[in-house]
């Protein structure tokens, strides 16, 4: 009997699903697997893991809920989705934490075995939500996932408790049926992943099949969905998150400079993955130093730059604060240094696993003295690759520290990445000074204003530099007043004129009209979705996303002048707004969300509609 024939297959353009359970339930693992499956099926995907800072909060508690949300479909998928359409909740706490974000009428798959009095109490449910009618607005599918998983895995050779742990794969099986996904790639992945542990491989394989077959046969599931593929340009694709992409960008940058990459870092959430990624890349000769602290990491990178390497350090807000003095030294000694700041919610320790964009002003201005540096921001996970490469290019060409801003959302979120052709990446080689004749450590290249990169080992170029003010050209220590003014000016000009060497500001949507939304960093997905919706509805609105925050593109004033109103959405209290307002006037409005979470598309859309209707009323 073919059960599937009794079921309805509905075509949809995109969908959003969330896996939620205890932090030990393996939700990230199956979420990731599902994301990979969707990618391979030709969807554009955008994922967002949401996990607690605690490695293992008490089982069944609200604080211990870990979630993985994925939006997938055609090209219009640019965010992890405002609200999930389907939720797999492995226990009452996961249901409680996630239900409020589910779309009305959405699907809730729960593991009813976990809805015990003890677990309900931990989730502060007086009555089981499965019984009290509180889920009436949703399609609830209660499945005894633990029991069915145990049954399905009986012959695996694992103990009952080990078998029960495979229930995440049962949930994956349910979701795979719901979205009509093939089984084979997951089974192949299991074979690779658990090569050395055949019992676990078999049990997980049996669970995922059991979940899929259960959904296929039971009357509980009536409809399933086929999600539209994207029409992406031809090529090879993979998934990347922001941290992986940033690490690859640094390796590519150093390779294109034909120099060694020295990475010095200190573990910090959410930047540690960059440290780990680069420590794996021994085939590229990456010299990885796990330093004793953030200061040492920055100083070691500066030392490596002095010795001629492409030097990178990465951190998050509290670490950036510690690196500030050393960054000033890099400004003064005019050495190339890439500092990646994967921002997280602050101040202080703040919320280490939650996202925020509140380090912009620190990156721009947070150094003693007049201390200009290049500041860049990646817009999407894959953009972290391009901006890390850009950071290496600007640092080495202009002999300057470059701060690249990413954030927790970009770091953990993944999207498809068209694998670039290494040959098409530009060469970044910086020629060392040719002859000691006439060499002076601060004799600048007249075009770039960069000083020469003469490194230890080069005969005849022996020189001394440091944090004390330098005499123009000679680099000799001096406190001369005129010289200090000149050097402050030179350092500022060197950075400012980089505006001529970066991509001009480009508006997506209307290039003039009623409203321009200006964003930077990880707000890109939500802004572009909101703007594209309103453009399709006939509004004259545009989207400008800044990747270069210091210096900003040279044509920015002109671009901005073509719009009546400017809206600046930021995951901070209005930091870019302050800067834009100071330069371009008061028609700049802020939309701020400081909740540790990225914007939803509808939040940006609502703010835009508010401005448009107000303008209209005027």
């Amino acid at each position: 009997m073919n059960h599937a024939s009794t079921k309805e297959l509905v075509q949809v353009s995109q969908s959003t699903v969330r896996f939620a359970g205890d932090s030990g339930d393996g939700m990230q693992l199956v979420g990731n697997q599902f994301a990979e499956l969707c990618s391979m099926m030709g969807n554009v995907i955008c994922s967002l893991p949401d996990f607690p800072s605690e490695i293992r909060a008490p089982a069944g508690s609200l604080a211990g809920v870990s979630g993985y949300q994925l939006s997938f479909g055609g090209q219009d998928v640019t965010t992890p989705g405002d609200a999930p359409y389907a939720l797999a909740a492995m226990n009452p706490a996961a249901l409680k934490v996630n239900l409020k974000e589910l779309q009305p009428g959405g699907i809730v798959m729960v593991n009813e075995d976990e809805f015990t009095p003890a677990n309900l109490a931990k989730a502060a449910y007086a009555v089981s939500p499965l019984d009290d009618g509180s889920l009436d607005g949703y399609r609830v599918i209660a499945v005894p996932m633990s029991r069915l998983t145990e049954d399905a895995t009986l012959n695996s050779g694992l103990s009952p408790s080990e078998r029960k742990r495979c229930k995440n794969f049962f949930a994956l099986g349910l979701v795979m049926w719901l979205y009509d996904r093939p089984m084979q790639p997951v089974l192949e992945w299991l074979m690779r992943k658990f090569q050395k542990n055949p019992a676990v491989m078999a049990a997980n394989g049996a669970s995922v099949r059991a979940g899929y077959n259960y959904a296929n046969t039971t009357e509980l599931f009536r409809v399933h969905y086929q999600v539209a593929r994207a029409s992406l340009p031809r090529g090879t694709y993979r998934r990347v998150n922001g941290n992986e992409a940033a690490a690859m960008g640094c390796i590519a940058g150093a390779a294109k400079c034909e120099r060694l990459l020295v990475y010095a870092g200190y573990p910090i959430t959410p930047a540690s993955e960059i440290l780990q990624e680069l420590s794996k890349r021994k085939e590229f000769g990456v010299r990885m130093i796990q330093a004793e602290d953030e200061i040492a990491a920055c100083c070691a990178a500066i030392g490596a730059a002095f010795a001629g390497a492409v030097a990178v350090t990465a951190t998050s807000g509290p670490g950036l604060a510690l690196k500030i003095e050393a960054m000033g030294l890099a400004v003064m000694t005019e050495l190339p240094l890439v500092i990646i700041n994967v921002q997280r919610a602050g101040p202080s320790t703040g919320m280490p696993t939650k996202t925020e964009q509140a380090d912009l002003l620190m990156a721009l201005y947070g150094r003693p003295g007049e201390s200009p540096a290049v500041v860049l921001a990646a817009a999407t996970p894959k953009d972290c690759f391009h901006m890390a490469f850009e950071a290496v290019r600007l640092a080495t060409k202009y002999m300057t520290p470059v701060i690249l801003l990413s954030d927790s959302f970009l770091a953990n979120s993944a999207e498809p990445f068209a694998v670039p052709d290494p040959e098409r990446l530009p060469n970044l080689r910086v020629e060392p000074p040719a002859s000691p004749e006439g060499f002076a450590p601060y004799r600048r290249n007249p075009q770039t204003l960069a000083r020469p990169w003469a490194v230890p080992g080069m005969k005849g170029f022996e020189h001394r530099i440091g944090g004390l003010e330098k005499e123009d050209v000679t680099g000799t220590v001096t406190y001369d007043a005129d010289n200090h003014r000149r050097m402050v000016d030179l350092r500022a000009r060197k950075i400012a004129q980089i505006a001529n060497d970066i991509k001009p500001a480009e508006v997506v949507g209307a290039t003039s009209g009623r409203l321009l939304v200006v964003g930077w960093g990880s707000t890109h997905g939500a802004i572009s979705a909101a703007v594209s919706q309103l453009v399709q509805e006939g509004h004259q609105v545009g989207h400008l996303h800044l990747r270069h925050l210091n210096p900003m593109p040279a044509n920015l004033a002109e671009v901005i002048s073509k719009f009546d109103r400017i809206l600046v959405p930021e995951n901070n209290a209005g930091q870019l707004s302050v800067i834009l307002r100071s330069r371009f006037g008061t028609h700049i409005e802020s939309l701020n969300k400081v909740e540790g979470r990225p914007f939803l598309v509808r939040e940006i859309r609502a703010a835009m509609e508010g401005i448009l209707s107000r303008e209209h009323a005027n």
Binding site: S39, G235, Y237, K282, R287, G303, A307, P456, E462
Partner: protein
């Protein structure tokens, strides 16, 4: 697989030219002097150290362009400006971290850190300890004058308990850091103490440090004429034989006129014994072993101090161990030998990929 059109892999840094021995013979102290006017106070102990270093460097068989002097902040940290090599004047306390980066990027360089008791043992203690325990092949010169000089006379972490200074008008209430014990606790592979006022002893100690492969830590006791004059007068003078123990590997620990006194350990405590003339066998008399596995006896000798004991000078510990940068490069080379060199195309397409046609 590498295709011929792949981008070139990161090339090694500009390789310093092989030492030209004839040219090296010509290097003299003068080659290591700079035009920069030396601006330490008259009578400062730093001058003597600078002179010894400028004399030592030409004898090491290393081309001048391969020397890098890195410093932090303080009087001592002006040192790189006065020595004609590559030099980097860093920020307060961070010289060992900067030097670590230099050495990681190019292990062929001869890297020297110049620091002081404030720079190295207060704001930068952390880096110093980690640099030593990693055994990075760097020579660290710690100028100890037991005072903050550049900021004009506050007590330092090595100032004696109760010392009256500008910031301790009623005397300090802090016990001093003991630099040699700290370095030994970090299991530094070369630990020595010398005095700026004894050029000959300083010269031999610096040379031993320079020739040691691995992290070398040298505490140089030094006078600050302006803010802490006479702080080491007792140990400065060779003639004060009762106040100085000159450590020599494999030799009994003796001092005093004609070596008439020695150090023994009883109940885990050091004691001084009188040694009668012509005695050859003194029970329990310590014999110095700079290569001992355990740094414990070295720490005991380092702890000897006036007024009860003389001050020990010389090499406390010297052991050959693999260096940090050596192991770093070995790991990379072994990995590359096993897996082949890096290939950007393969890196970009690592993990699960799919084709869109």
């Amino acid at each position: 697989m590498n295709t011929p059109t792949d981008p070139p892999l990161p090339a090694p840094l500009p390789t310093p030219q092989a030492p030209n021995i004839d040219c090296l013979r010509d290097l003299t102290r003068k080659d290591f002097q700079t035009k920069q006017e030396v601006r330490w106070c008259p009578g400062c102990g730093d001058y003597a150290i600078l002179t010894q270093i400028q004399k030592l460097l030409p004898t090491l068989g290393i081309p001048r362009e391969r020397f890098v002097f890195v410093s932090g902040i303080g009087c001592s940290s002006r040192f790189p400006y006065y020595i004609n090599t590559f030099g980097f004047h860093g920020i307060h306390g961070r010289a060992p971290a900067i030097a670590m980066g230099v050495k990681a990027a190019n292990p062929d360089l001869s890297v020297w850190v110049v620091t002081g008791d404030g720079d190295g043992l207060s704001i930068g203690t952390n880096h110093l300890i980690h640099c030593l325990r990693r055994n990075i092949d760097i020579n660290i010169l710690l100028f100890n004058n037991r005072i903050y000089g550049l900021t004009k006379g506050q007590y330092s972490p090595t100032s004696e308990f109760g010392k009256v200074t500008k910031s301790s008008p009623l005397g300090t209430i802090e016990h001093p850091v003991r630099p040699i014990q700290m370095a030994l606790a970090a299991e530094a592979t070369f630990v020595a103490r010398t005095v700026a006022a004894d050029p000959a002893h300083m010269a031999q100690t610096l040379e031993a440090a320079a020739r040691h492969k691995g992290a070398s830590f040298i505490e140089i006791l030094q006078n600050c004429r302006v803010f802490n004059d006479g702080t080491f007068d007792q140990v400065n003078q060779r003639k004060n034989v009762d106040d100085r123990i000159i450590l020599e590997h494999g030799k009994p620990v003796r001092f005093g006129p004609n070596g008439s006194r020695g150090v023994v350990v009883r109940n885990m405590q050091p004691e001084i014994v009188e040694i009668a003339p012509a005695t050859t066998d003194v029970p329990g008399l310590l014999v110095h072993d700079e290569r001992a596995d355990s740094p414990a006896l070295a720490a005991l000798l380092a702890a000897l101090e006036p007024p009860q004991f003389p001050t020990a000078l010389g090499v406390f510990r010297a052991r050959e161990e693999p260096t940090y940068e050596e192991m770093m490069v070995q790991q990379i080379e072994a990995y590359q030998a096993r897996r082949g060199p890096g290939d950007l195309r393969r890196l970009f397409a690592s993990g699960a990929t799919w084709q869109i046609d």
